[in-house]
Amino acid sequence: MSTPRFPIPQGTLDMLILQIVSLEPAHGYGIAQRLQQISREAVQVNQGSLYPALHRLEQKGWLKSAWRQSETGREAKFYSLTRAGGKQLAIEKESWNRLTTAVRLIFNEGK
C-alpha cells in the first residue's frame, strides 16, 4: 500500500469485470478482491460501485448470474460470462490494445 493508488478510468471497469469473470465465475466480493490482487493493489475501486456495473452488464446480456455455494459455504450470487459477453470482451480488448499502442507510439516519438 505504499504506492499511491489511482482511480480506475471511466468505462474501463466494465472491461475489467468481464475479463475477471472470463477466467472463472465469481461473486461480487471475489471480483473486488481479485481486481486489487491482480493489479497489485494499484487500482482503487470503490467497492460499492462494482454492483451497479455488474447489474448493468447483466441487463445487457453480457453476464448471467446464479446463486451458488461459495468457498465459505454460504450462498453467493456468482456471475459468469455469456457468449455475447465473451464477444464483447474480445472487442473491448482489441480496441484497448489499439488505443494503448497508439498512445505508446505517440509517447515514444522523438526518443
Binding site: H27, G28, Y29, A32, N46, Q47, G48, S49, Y51, P52, H55, R56, Q59, S70, T72, R74, E75, A76, K77
Partner: protein
C-alpha cells in the same frame, strides 16, 4: 388486472431481496477478512461499510439500471408493436376506426352535454345563485315562460339582506336595434340595476348598468352591449361608449360593453344588449306593467349569503312571504276572486331553486334528447371496444404459434404480456387521437340541428374524458389476449400447433359477438323508433296546405309609429300585399305558427250551464280570411267579417266573436253545436262570458306538429294590431315571391324591417329539428353498429370455420351434403344471433322509458319496429356468417383432411 399487478409486484420484490442478499454477502465477507487481520468486529464492520461507500446509494444505482432496462424494453415493445401492426393493415385499420368512431362520437356528444347541462355560469361563485319561484296560485297575468315573478316582488326580496347578498331580476325578449342602416331584431335582456353587481360581472369597456339606472321610469335611456355584438357588428370600435343607438326607434346611450365570457343567464339566448327595467315601456311597447304586483314577467335570482343553504333560506323566507300575501290580499285593486281561489292564493309558498347554471328553456328542451344520444354513443363505444377485443382475440389466436415459439426460445411471459399490451395501447391511442380529431366535425353536425349559441369546440375536460376512455379501452382489450397467453401450455401447444390452444378464446369471442348483437339491436330499434316518429309527424302534417304559404313579421309599433298609426300601416300592408302579382290570398295574425310559442288562458263557457275549461285554451288573433289563406277548413258556422270587430269608439273592451277548434267543440260541447253559445277569457266568478261563438274550424298545429290542443281565435284588429305576422298564399313556389313581397312592403315604409320571412314548409322543417336530429343520429349509430357487429361476426365465423375444416371434411367424406355442412357452421351463428336478440329485448323494454317522451305515434316497445330491426340484423348477420360457411363447405374432403 390484479393478477398482472401482483405478478409485477412479486417480481420486483424478488429482485430487491436478491440485491439485499448480494450486498450483505459482500459486507459480511469483507468484515470477516478484516477481523482475520486483527480488527475488532465493530471496527471491521465500520471499515467494511466505509470501503463499500454507502449501501443505500449503491442500491439506488442498481435500481436505476433496472429502470433503464424496463424503459428500454417498453420502447422496444412499442417499436415491435408498430411493426407488427403495420404488417396487418386491415386489422389495424378496422380496430383504430372502430375506436375512433366510438370515441369521436362520445367526445362530441359529451362536449355538447357539458355545455348544455353541466356548465355553470361564468360569474363570481355561481354556486351561491338561486332562482326564486312562486308555488301555488299567484292570481297573475303572465308574459314569458316558467318561474315568473313581478318587478315589485323583486324589489321586496332585495330588502331581505339577512338571506341574500343581493337579488336581481331579468326578462328576456327581443327589440329592434338600429346601429347602421336598418333596424334589426336582436335578443335583449331587461334587467334590474342590481343585475351585474350581484352576478359579479365587470365591464370590458365603460361601465355596466347599476342601481343608479334603476330609479325612475323612462328616465334612464342607457344600454350595455354584448361583446359579440360590439366586435361583430360595430367592428370593436374603441369609441363606442357614449354613442347613441336606436332601440325600438328610441335613442339610447351605450354606457359600456360586457365581457366576452358573459352571455347572460340564459343558455342559448345570449342577448345583444342589456337595458334597465325602468326603460320597460321603450323595450316592450306592447305591455307596460312595471309596477303591477300581479304582472309576472321577470325571473328573479338571488345570491345566497355565504354558508347559508338554499333549504334554510327557503324555510326562512316563508313567514315574510305569508305576511306579504296577507297584506297584498287586503290591498286595493286585488282582483275579485272566488273564496277557493283566495284560499289557494294565501296558501302559496316561495321556492328557492339552486341556479348555478342559470335558467334555460333550451336546456329543458334538449336535456332528454341529449341523454338519449349519450346513451346511444356509450352503447356505440362499448360495441367498438367489444369489436376491438374480439379482433385482438382473433389475432392472439393467429399469433399463437409465434408466441409459443417465442416462449420456447426463452421470452418471459411477462415480456409477452407487455408486448400485447403495447399492441392494444397503440391501437387505443391511435383510435383516441383520430376520434378526438374527428369530434369537432361531429359536433358541428350536431350544432346544425341545435342552437348557434353553442360552441363546437371540444374542451380540455372532454379531452381528458376521451383520453381516459381510450386508455381504459386499451388496457381492457390488451388484457384479454394477455391472459390467454399466460395460460398457454407450452408443450401441448407446440405439439398441436395453433389449433387447440385458443379454444377458450372461441367461447369468449362467441360471448362477445352475442354482446355485439345485443348492443346493435338496441341501437337499431332506437333508430327505428325515431325514424318512425319523424315519419309519423311528417305524414300527419300541420293540418293546413303549407306548400304555397309563406309568412313574415312586421312591427311598425316598435319602429316609431304610434299605436293607431301602426294599425293603419298594418292595414295598408295587407292591402298592398293583396295586389302583388302571384299572391292569391293574404291574412294577418298576431303570431308565427310552429315556433313553439303560444298564448293560452283558461276560459269560461256559458251554454245552458256555466263551466270552466279544465285545460288551458290556446288562443290567437287572426284577420278575416286567415283560415282560407291557410286552407284550414271551417266545419261549422262562418269566418270573421268586418261586423265582428269591436267598435273602437265605444267603451267596449275584448272581442264580440270567437271561432273555436273542432277539438274544443268536441271536448266541451260533445255532439251538440257550439255555434251561438258564449265564452269569456278567465275562470273567475266575475268573468263575463259574452263572446259569441260564430264558427268551428278544423284544428291545426300551433306550437309544433305534436300539438293536440284546444284552440280559440278572436279577431286580429280588436286590439294590439300594431304588429303581427302576415300569411301569404301564392301561386307557385313561395320562395319566388320573397322579392316582390319585400318590394311591396318597402312601398309602404322603406325602412320597416321584415323579420323572419320563411315558407311554412321551412318552418315545419325547423320545428322538427330535434326529431330530425334524433332520427339522423340514431340511424347513423345503427348503421355503424351494424357494420361493427358484421365485422365481429364474420371474424369469429371465419376462425371457427378454419378450425373445423378438418371435421367438415371428414363429415363430407362420410356422406354429409353441402347444405348439412353449411348448417353445421350457420347453426352457431343462429344461436349467437338468437342469444343476442334475447339479451337485447329486456333492455329495450327498460330503455323505453328514456325515449318515450321523444316519440310520436309509436310506442317505446313497438312490435313492428322490433320485428323490422331484428329481421334486418338477423339477415345481415346471417349473410356475414354464410360466407365463411360456404367456403368451408366448398373445400374438397381430401383437401380438408390434408389440412394439418
Amino acid at each position: 388486472m390484479r393478477r398482472l399487478l401482483n405478478l409485477l409486484r412479486s417480481k420486483r420484490g424478488r429482485m430487491e431481496q436478491d440485491l439485499d442478499r448480494e450486498l450483505r454477502y459482500h459486507l459480511d465477507r469483507r468484515a470477516e477478512d478484516l477481523m482475520k487481520s486483527g480488527l475488532s468486529e465493530t471496527e471491521a464492520r465500520r471499515q467494511a461499510a466505509v470501503e463499500f461507500g454507502g449501501v443505500a446509494q449503491v442500491q439506488e444505482e442498481v435500481r436505476d439500471t433496472w429502470i433503464w432496462r424496463w424503459l428500454d424494453d417498453r420502447s422496444r415493445d412499442i417499436r415491435y408493436a408498430f411493426r407488427t401492426l403495420l404488417r396487418s393493415p386491415g386489422f389495424t385499420a378496422t380496430a383504430v376506426l372502430s375506436l375512433a368512431l366510438g370515441i369521436g362520437a362520445n367526445a362530441a356528444i359529451f362536449s355538447l352535454l357539458d355545455q348544455v347541462l353541466l356548465r355553470v355560469l361564468p360569474v363570481k361563485e355561481p354556486e351561491r345563485l338561486v332562482l326564486l319561484d312562486w308555488k301555488g296560485n299567484p292570481v297573475s297575468v303572465n308574459w314569458g315562460s316558467g318561474n315568473l315573478l313581478s318587478y315589485p316582488l323583486c324589489r321586496d326580496l332585495q330588502e331581505l339582506d339577512q338571506f341574500f347578498d343581493g337579488v336581481f331580476c331579468r326578462h328576456p325578449t327581443s327589440a329592434y336595434l338600429l346601429t347602421g342602416q336598418q333596424p334589426e331584431p336582436v335578443s335583449i335582456e331587461i334587467v334590474s340595476g342590481s343585475y351585474f353587481r350581484v352576478l359579479g360581472v365587470r365591464p370590458e369597456l365603460g361601465r355596466l348598468i347599476d342601481d343608479s339606472d334603476d330609479l325612475r321610469p323612462e328616465a334612464h335611456p342607457v344600454v350595455v352591449l354584448s361583446y359579440n355584438y360590439w366586435k361583430n357588428r360595430l367592428g370593436g370600435a374603441p369609441d363606442v361608449v357614449g354613442r347613441k343607438v336606436l332601440v325600438n326607434n328610441r335613442p339610447m346611450t351605450v354606457i359600456g360593453i360586457a365581457p366576452a365570457i358573459f352571455r347572460g343567464v340564459d343558455l342559448g339566448q345570449g342577448p345583444a344588449l342589456w337595458i334597465p327595467a325602468m326603460m320597460k315601456r321603450q323595450a316592450t311597447p306592447e305591455f307596460n306593467e312595471l309596477f303591477n304586483r300581479r304582472a309576472f314577467w321577470m325571473h328573479v335570482f338571488g345570491r345566497l349569503k355565504p354558508g347559508i343553504s338554499a333549504e334554510r333560506v327557503k324555510a326562512g323566507l316563508q313567514p315574510w312571504f305569508k305576511s306579504m300575501l296577507e297584506a297584498d290580499a287586503q290591498r286595493e285593486g286585488f282582483p275579485r276572486v272566488s273564496e277557493e281561489q283566495r284560499r289557494r292564493y294565501l296558501a302559496s309558498t316561495i321556492d328557492v331553486i339552486p341556479a348555478a347554471r342559470g335558467r334555460s328553456d333550451l336546456r329543458s328542451r334538449l336535456e332528454e334528447p341529449l341523454f338519449v344520444l349519450m346513451t346511444g354513443t356509450v352503447l356505440l363505444l362499448l360495441l367498438a371496444c367489444v369489436n376491438v377485443a374480439s379482433l385482438f382475440l382473433a389475432r392472439a389466436a393467429a399469433r399463437n404459434l409465434e408466441l409459443t415459439t417465442r416462449l420456447a426460445l426463452g421470452a418471459s411471459r411477462g415480456r409477452i404480456t407487455w408486448q400485447l399490451l403495447a399492441d392494444s395501447m397503440l391501437i387505443a391511442l391511435g383510435g383516441g387521437l383520430l376520434g378526438f380529431l374527428a369530434a369537432p366535425a361531429v359536433s358541428q353536425v350536431l350544432l346544425s340541428f341545435l342552437s348557434d349559441d353553442l360552441s363546437a369546440r371540444i374542451d380540455q375536460r372532454v379531452f381528458v374524458f376521451t383520453f381516459l376512455v381510450t386508455v381504459a379501452v386499451g388496457a381492457l382489450c390488451g388484457l384479454v389476449p394477455a391472459f390467454q397467453v399466460s395460460r398457454i401450455a407450452l408443450i401441448s401447444s407446440l405439439k398441436e400447433r395453433a389449433r387447440i390452444a385458443a379454444s377458450g378464446g372461441v367461447r369468449l369471442r362467441k360471448a362477445l359477438v352475442v354482446g355485439q348483437v345485443a348492443f346493435t339491436l338496441i341501437l337499431l330499434i332506437g333508430a327505428g323508433l325515431f325514424v318512425r316518429t319523424l315519419e309519423r309527424l311528417q305524414t300527419k302534417g300541420p293540418g293546413f296546405a303549407s306548400g304555397s304559404l309563406l309568412m313574415f313579421r312586421a312591427d311598425p309599433v316598435s319602429n316609431g309609429y304610434s299605436d293607431s298609426n301602426a294599425t293603419q300601416v298594418m292595414r295598408e300592408l295587407l292591402a298592398k300585399l293583396k295586389d302583388v302579382p302571384g299572391v292569391e290570398r293574404v291574412a294577418v295574425a298576431n303570431s308565427h305558427l310552429l315556433t313553439g310559442g303560444t298564448s293560452s288562458s283558461s276560459m269560461t263557457i256559458q251554454s245552458d250551464k256555466r263551466i270552466v275549461t279544465d285545460r288551458a285554451v290556446h288562443y290567437m288573433r287572426v284577420s278575416p280570411g286567415f283560415f282560407s289563406t291557410l286552407g284550414a277548413q271551417l266545419v261549422a258556422g262562418r269566418d270573421f267579417e268586418e261586423r265582428d270587430l269591436r267598435d273602437r269608439n265605444s267603451k267596449e273592451t275584448g272581442s264580440r266573436s270567437i271561432i273555436v277548434s273542432e277539438s274544443f267543440a268536441r271536448r266541451y260541447f260533445g255532439g251538440s253545436s257550439p255555434i251561438g253559445h258564449r265564452l269569456g277569457f278567465g275562470n273567475r266568478p266575475g268573468t263575463a262570458a259574452n263572446i259569441e261563438i260564430v264558427g268551428v274550424v278544423r284544428g291545426f298545429s300551433r306550437r309544433n306538429l305534436r300539438d293536440e290542443i284546444e284552440q280559440a281565435f278572436v279577431p286580429f284588429w280588436d286590439r294590439d294590431s300594431g304588429d303581427g305576422t302576415f300569411y301569404v298564399k301564392v301561386l307557385g313556389k313561395p320562395e319566388a315571391a320573397f322579392a316582390s313581397i319585400r318590394a311591396a312592403v318597402a312601398q309602404v315604409d322603406p325602412v320597416l324591417p321584415i323579420v323572419n320571412m320563411v315558407t311554412l314548409d321551412d318552418q315545419i322543417d325547423q320545428s322538427l329539428t330535434t326529431e330530425r336530429m334524433l332520427a339522423t343520429l340514431s340511424s347513423g349509430f345503427g348503421a355503424i353498429a351494424l357494420l361493427l357487429s358484421v365485422v365481429g361476426l364474420y371474424g369469429v365465423m371465419s376462425f371457427v370455420v378454419t378450425r373445423r375444416t378438418q371435421e367438415i371434411g371428414i363429415r363430407m367424406a362420410l356422406g354429409a351434403t353441402r347444405s348439412t355442412a353449411m348448417w353445421l357452421v350457420v347453426r352457431d351463428a343462429v344461436v349467437m344471433i338468437g342469444a343476442g336478440t334475447a339479451t337485447a329485448l329486456p333492455c329495450v323494454w327498460a330503455l323505453g322509458r328514456l325515449v318515450e317522451a321523444q316519440l310520436f305515434g309509436v310506442r317505446a316497445v313497438d312490435g313492428l319496429t322490433i320485428a323490422a330491426a331484428s329481421s334486418l340484423l338477423a339477415l345481415v348477420a346471417l349473410g356475414a356468417a354464410m360466407l365463411p360457411a360456404w367456403r368451408a363447405a366448398s373445400v374438397s374432403p381430401t383437401e380438408a383432411l390434408r389440412f394439418e
